[in-house]
Structures are given as C-alpha cells and as structure tokens.
C-alpha cells in the first residue's frame, strides 16, 4: 500500500462509509447483550476491531492511524484489563475484605445480590471488549505498517 498513489474506488469507499457505523453499532450490541444472548466481550471486541481493518484497506493506513491514534490505542489496551481487575477489587473493597475477589454480588450497584452479579458481569464484558478491540487493532497496525525493517544495514532496530 503506497500512500498518495493509492487507487480509489468510489463503490468500495461508499460501501465502507455506509457499513462502518453499522458494524460498530453491531459490535456494541454484541458486547452489551452478552449477558442476555449469544455474544460477549471477546466476540464484540473482534467485530469492533474489524472496522479498523475495513477502514485501512479501503482508505489508507495513515488515515486509520489518525482516526485511532497510537496513544489512545495503548491506553485502551490496558484500560479494559484495569476495568476487569478493578471490578474484582471493588468486591473486596465494598465488602471490607469478607468477599472473594471477583464476587460481583457484593458491589452495591442495586439492592439485589443477583442483579449485582449480572451488572458486574456486564462491566467485565465491557472491559474484555475494550482490551480485545485495542489489542487486535494494535497488532493489525503493527503488522500493516512498513518502516524499513527489512532494509540491509539497518541493524536489528526498526
């Protein structure tokens, strides 16, 4: 993919422009409805990351990196894991050390123990979704961009 000399195809671009918001919406649907139907954080995260791949193969790599900058990518990839770990830690904090780690029932989202567990699961799925989305996008951008890694005389560094 040579930037600046890329072929543009009006059909592909229009279809991508129309499809991308719907794919993102579908990914969010899969994550949010993970507790009620089929789906969950892993699947929704991968569907969301596929949007970046579609964008990059339709437009160009630099544009994709502009839409999803590297700093945001790095923050998001660890944020999901911190959400997961934090939800687990909240159970210990709110029960003053009597409940186990990841025992969502003791986090007072609502007054019902069972619904607390359901909500805790929802937040955990969101955390998984954020991490998976950011990591898949990060791996894709890393593999897609060329930085003269294979030039001779450049040493091992990129």
């Amino acid at each position: 993919m040579k930037e600046g000399k890329q072929e543009t195809n009006i059909v592909v671009e229009t279809v991508a422009r129309v499809m991308i918001p719907f794919i993102q919406l579908f990914a969010l649907y899969v994550i949010i409805h993970g507790t009620g139907g089929p789906g969950g954080g892993f699947q929704g995260g991968v569907v969301f990351a596929s949007v970046f791949i579609l964008y990059v193969i339709t437009f160009n790599l630099a544009g994709g990196r502009e839409r999803f900058p590297e700093s945001a990518n790095i923050v998001l990839s660890s944020l999901g894991l911190y959400v997961y770990g934090g939800i687990g830690l909240l159970a210990i904090i709110f029960s003053l050390g009597t409940a186990q780690y990841l025992n969502y029932g003791f986090i007072p989202f609502t007054s019902h123990f069972e619904e607390n567990r359901a909500l805790g699961m929802d937040f955990v799925e969101m955390g998984i979704g954020i991490t998976v989305m950011a990591i898949i996008a990060s791996i894709f951008f890393d593999l897609a961009q060329k930085k003269g890694r294979f030039k001779k005389g450049d040493g091992e560094g990129g």
């Binding site: 507790t35 089929p38 954080g41 894991l81 567990r117 699961m121 955990v124 890393d142």
Partner: protein
C-alpha cells in the same frame, strides 16, 4: 515509566488475588451429569424410597465411602423408579440443602449416582446470577478467574507484538 508503574501495580494485584483462587481439582466434580458410585440390592430399598424414608443400608454404604448421608428423599416427577436424595446443611461445599444423589432402579438393583457440578450449574445459575445466558455466567462469574487470565493472555500478545515490531532502538 508510567507504563512500567502500571504494569507493576497490575502484577501486585494479581499476586494478591492469586491467594484467593478457589481450590481446583476436586475429584468429586467431573463435568458430566452424574457419577456412578455403586449399585446395591433393591429388595427393601425401593419401597422405603417410595415412602420418602432414607434407607439405613444406603446411608451406611455412603458413609463408608466418605460421602455425606442423605437427609431426605424425593421422587423425580414424571420418572418411575428414580429418586433425588438431598443432603443436610452441614455438608462442606454447600451452605444450603442441596440435591446431591440420583438413585435409579435397574431391574433388581438400585444404582446410586452423585450429581456433578454441571447439574447445579444448569439449575441454579439463573437463580444465583439473574443472567439467562448459561455461557456468560459460566464465563464471567463462575469461571471469572479463567477469563481474567484469558484477557491477560491477549494483552500479553499485543504487548509482545509491540515490543517486537515497534522498537526503535536495540533492546
């Protein structure tokens, strides 16, 4: 530098959490519906079970094998010659009275089986977690530690690719 501190905090959290992991490898909980324990002669047992009485022979046989004796018997509705045996509250894994043994009449013998965890998973999951999806409450609640580990594996994969492909100077 910030990333290093965050990673150290995450590692410390995991080390703290690792002490909380429940015990694995319980031989009494394989992932099948019920585990066959033994068979015994059905001369008196079946009629006693029909009257909701716990046969002394059955209790003795179970105690001999190191299992808790049943507290009361109930017929499985719609099934002829099958009973559920419940255990009392004191049993170590369950705080409440639980369905524990599955007794079935086979010819002139009675087969005694123990329900596996899967049965409890299917029957109690919706009640305990208010989530209708069996896979999700398994993934995120009962096996929450496992999923935390899986997410960490994905995170580690991404960080490894960053380290290998994005380095600007020699490591």
């Amino acid at each position: 530098m910030t990333a290093l501190i965050l990673i150290i905090i995450l590692c410390a959290l995991f080390i703290y959490v690792a002490e909380d992991i429940p015990v694995f490898g319980d031989p009494n909980a394989p992932p099948i519906k019920a585990v066959k324990l033994f068979t015994m002669k059905a001369d008196q047992v079946a009629s006693l079970l029909d009257q909701h009485i716990v046969p002394g022979k059955l209790s003795r046989e179970l105690v001999k094998r190191g299992l808790p004796p049943p507290s009361h018997i109930e017929k499985i509705p719609g099934m002829d010659g099958e009973w559920n045996a419940f255990i009392a509250k004191e049993e170590s894994y369950y705080a409440k009275e639980e369905k524990y043994y599955w007794i079935k009449e086979e010819g002139d013998k009675v087969r005694v089986s123990r329900y596996a965890f899967v049965v409890r998973w299917i029957e109690k999951g919706l009640k305990e977690t208010a989530v209708p999806n069996m896979v999700t409450y398994g993934l995120a609640d009962y096996r929450g530690y496992d999923t935390l580990g899986e997410t960490t594996v994905i995170f580690t994969a991404g960080v490894s690719v960053i380290l290998l492909l994005r380095r600007r100077s020699r490591l």
